[in-house]
Symmetry: C2
Subunit: 608 residues, 2 copies
Amino acid sequence: MYRTHTCGELRISHAGINVTLAGWVQTIRKFGSITFVDLRDRYGITQLLFGEELNQQLESNPLGREYVIQVSGTVNERSSKNANIPTGAIEIAVQSFVILNKSAVPPFTIQDETDGGDDLRMKYRFLDLRRNTVKRNIELRYAVNRAARNFLHANGFMDIETPFLIKSTPEGARDFVVPSRMNPGQFYALPQSPQTFKQLLMVSGYDRYYQVVKCFRDEDLRADRQPEFTQIDCEMAFVEQEDILNMFEGMIKSIFKEVKGIDYTETVERMTWEDAMWQYGNDKPDIRFGMEICNLKFPAHTFPSKSGYEQLINGVDFKVFDEAETVVAIAVPGCSEYTRKQTDELTEWVKRPQIGMKGLVFIKCNEDGTFKSSVDKFYSEEKLKAIADVSGAKSGDLILILAGTEERTRKAMSELRLDLGERLGLRKKDEFKLLWVLDFPLFEYAEEENRWVARHHPFTSPKPSQIETMIQNNPVIEDAANYLKHPYANIKANAYDMVLNGNEIGGGSIRIYQRELQEKMFLALGMDAEEQQHKFGFLLGAFEYGAPPHGGIAFGFDRLCALMGGSESIRDFIAFPKNNSGRDVMLDAPSSIDQKQLDELQIRLHLK
Amino acid sequence: MYRTHTCGELRISHAGINVTLAGWVQTIRKFGSITFVDLRDRYGITQLLFGEELNQQLESNPLGREYVIQVSGTVNERSSKNANIPTGAIEIAVQSFVILNKSAVPPFTIQDETDGGDDLRMKYRFLDLRRNTVKRNIELRYAVNRAARNFLHANGFMDIETPFLIKSTPEGARDFVVPSRMNPGQFYALPQSPQTFKQLLMVSGYDRYYQVVKCFRDEDLRADRQPEFTQIDCEMAFVEQEDILNMFEGMIKSIFKEVKGIDYTETVERMTWEDAMWQYGNDKPDIRFGMEICNLKFPAHTFPSKSGYEQLINGVDFKVFDEAETVVAIAVPGCSEYTRKQTDELTEWVKRPQIGMKGLVFIKCNEDGTFKSSVDKFYSEEKLKAIADVSGAKSGDLILILAGTEERTRKAMSELRLDLGERLGLRKKDEFKLLWVLDFPLFEYAEEENRWVARHHPFTSPKPSQIETMIQNNPVIEDAANYLKHPYANIKANAYDMVLNGNEIGGGSIRIYQRELQEKMFLALGMDAEEQQHKFGFLLGAFEYGAPPHGGIAFGFDRLCALMGGSESIRDFIAFPKNNSGRDVMLDAPSSIDQKQLDELQIRLHLK
């Protein structure tokens, strides 16, 4: 061993003993004939004092930033202590030292606030990983991993490894494929998730399974997506939705406790997908703050108690609202005194192409009880008051209203709400709010192909009460224009998402375990019997030999770690991430391979 | 939840309570108007009693093997208890039941001794996994995983995930490659091990790393090799070989204790590679039994105390021995009375093509002190006694002697020794003997290319005392015939293998951490500066910024589990293994993929 202690462990109680440390030179400060060096390792920083007698040696063997050295000496109490670091009470009076390895001058500073840009830090990721801020993320990731495993182990789950070289069954996302040299012309695929394997394990009777496992999706990368990512993947047999919600609520709370020391004692709120879409404009609401969306055309959609308001905004000949499919409002607390400049800025914000609205209507609910709006010529004070009541606005609030098609308008209002939450400091980094979103639609409609697609995945069960609807009806959509009238349009999935601070951190479902229902599902997705057999014959077969009821969930481990660490960028929480083009710029991968490798695989490039 | 208890937990103390169980029907036994059913789940078996009143229902809804049912009833004390199972004191008087899912008749019996052949069980792996014998293996695997993680965590190691989509740098084994759609014409490779990443983590200062991680090698599969396999992969910084040996000896002992309840208190034996090769004929000796090999031509090679025996077997005009490069013997204990038939059989055994010897010489060391050999006409009684002395044979032993070229003869003797150990019951399944093999040669000679290849891998350091030899000499072999005289031929690696009962379970080394030495190593392996930069530029670069001394080890997790489970077949310890052609016969993978997928990847098949 090159050391007797780490750079983080020596205290005043060690004073007087001889120690050997090894680590990296963080800083060098010369004061006349003595030199102070801060020595760094994974565990902390310890101050070294090179006295006069070692100066000669230091001159012939000068140290530099990031040199790796080994020093021996005595632990001494410092005269001027540094209360900011745990070792700040002591220093090492160095008696001898060895330079274990030199270092070139790093391309950026190894400090919390570095001068290195993104690209440079990615190329030299091994240096970036030395920075405290990055190290804390990697440590947090391990802590989350460990806490999850401990909870799952304590609850009888078993880590069972599933294969990485599997069969390509592209559903939704593209598979990465791996040519097989021993089976020329054939390919393995890398798993998008261990979904079918964990279901088979349930059929096999291993009723509580988990894995912290890499998954792969060959998608066009958006910012903060990685082609390989990690899931905490879990499955249970003999359970219903309620059992899963309780179990995994417990897991996340246990992680909060172990990793962050947070007692998340309150019950996790639950919300239907329908409510989430109408009250927050998206299916992963950030409920750290209110500002719920109010549907001004059909307020009862949002608040069942507020019926009878259908004429709230209609009937005053304001065409923008009259003609809009959807008119929605939020009440922004305490912003009634926004200036013209500020409301103009908001209007510009919603008119940006990413948001795509034509304009923004506002109503200022003045502190004195009066109202001032951008639509005063259409709406009387009385009408404005009624709108304010319905929107839940109080004196001092600013009501913002958007109008347009349902999907776009809800989405725009969701963005606007989040942006204002951010501006008003309502999205606190150190506040954590969990939410279960439930009762998703089982299907979405694919217009181009005039068929159903699975909203979650093809193995998700409908609500038990709707299984008959699914079995008894023909999934074919005869009348494309009225697809919403097809009985399948109203089937809800037995599925659930866990949302943390407006981000989906986990999702799952109760699975189909009956062959007949699974076949019906595949058929609804446009897969005929032959294709079903080719792609999923093993699963359909398994369902014939005593498949138990089962369900599960998968957590996005990268995202969970990022959110726990107060960041929304997963890349900072992955030791060796890829960039937005799916490249590892440190390795320079992917790269060309030898002709010999291509020949052995019996494939050729065919570049466009 | 479909159950209140599992099928393994009810005891006499539960008598009288109402319970609900769910599981699989193991057996059905009818006795007149009552029916006994054994219900099975992951945790055990519970006997169900369907009384007269339920018979009607059972007749209209008959049960079958492997049906999934849910039953409610009362826990009753059994009149005739079954002491063989933990729940044997009770049974459930069923009050109601539901068939959750039916089962077709399984293609083989779900019992410890099944009637299913290998292929059938692989195709229906999900049923095979239900068998107790397989389940115990999977549970043992999880226990080993957990024990390893607990030990490593307690010792300050961090699980840090390394990427799966990396760069192809084929060294030795072939890479599996993954075409990149977003970078047409370029490929990722799947990692053969996280070797370079864990070294980078050491450069980054994460001084204790581990991972239980999938690795991939596209090799022609031998029996019991898998294209994807799992390693317990570890690395430490600021350590020397001794530190690694102590740490991981501790890990394996801790696994033995936690998983098998075995206190492995003795220090793990250590042996040089040279000794292993001469005394056991291979580099992973099974030291559960003796029968060490004796080198009759140069006994001092094996036993330094036995010098001066050079004329032991020469000089009697027995050409077979005189002309052989190597003559080796083992003394088989207590077999001096082997019949002619038995010695003939041994002779035939060594003459099989797999062993490839021309014949076998034996000397019977009779109990009365006389000798009888197959070479009596060449060797006097006195000579035979001398040979017996040198071979360590006692009265009653049978000495077996092989002669031929060094490599083949040692290997043949190793096989013969193991075979006899097996026959004599000396390789006990429940005995575990660990061994460190040390001081491997750093290089092997590649005749075709007249250059060096790394015996372990290119990142292994030579012994510290031999670094200068490596740096100062030109690796080029000028005189191919005398390659053994090249200074590199005698360089020993700072490497170590852990052997358990004659199987390598782990191997590792102290790594090179100096750029100059690493470049010299690559050069010795025939890699010029350009190729070095292309393949390993990132690592050479990293060594310029303060790389600490470091080393590590990787354990073959599949093999370790198999050996702990008393088996030598890793396949039985993998949930979803591939067959010897690398196929998953359950999934039917690999398989053809759509033309659309090929087009998107811009590759084409080019089948021979």
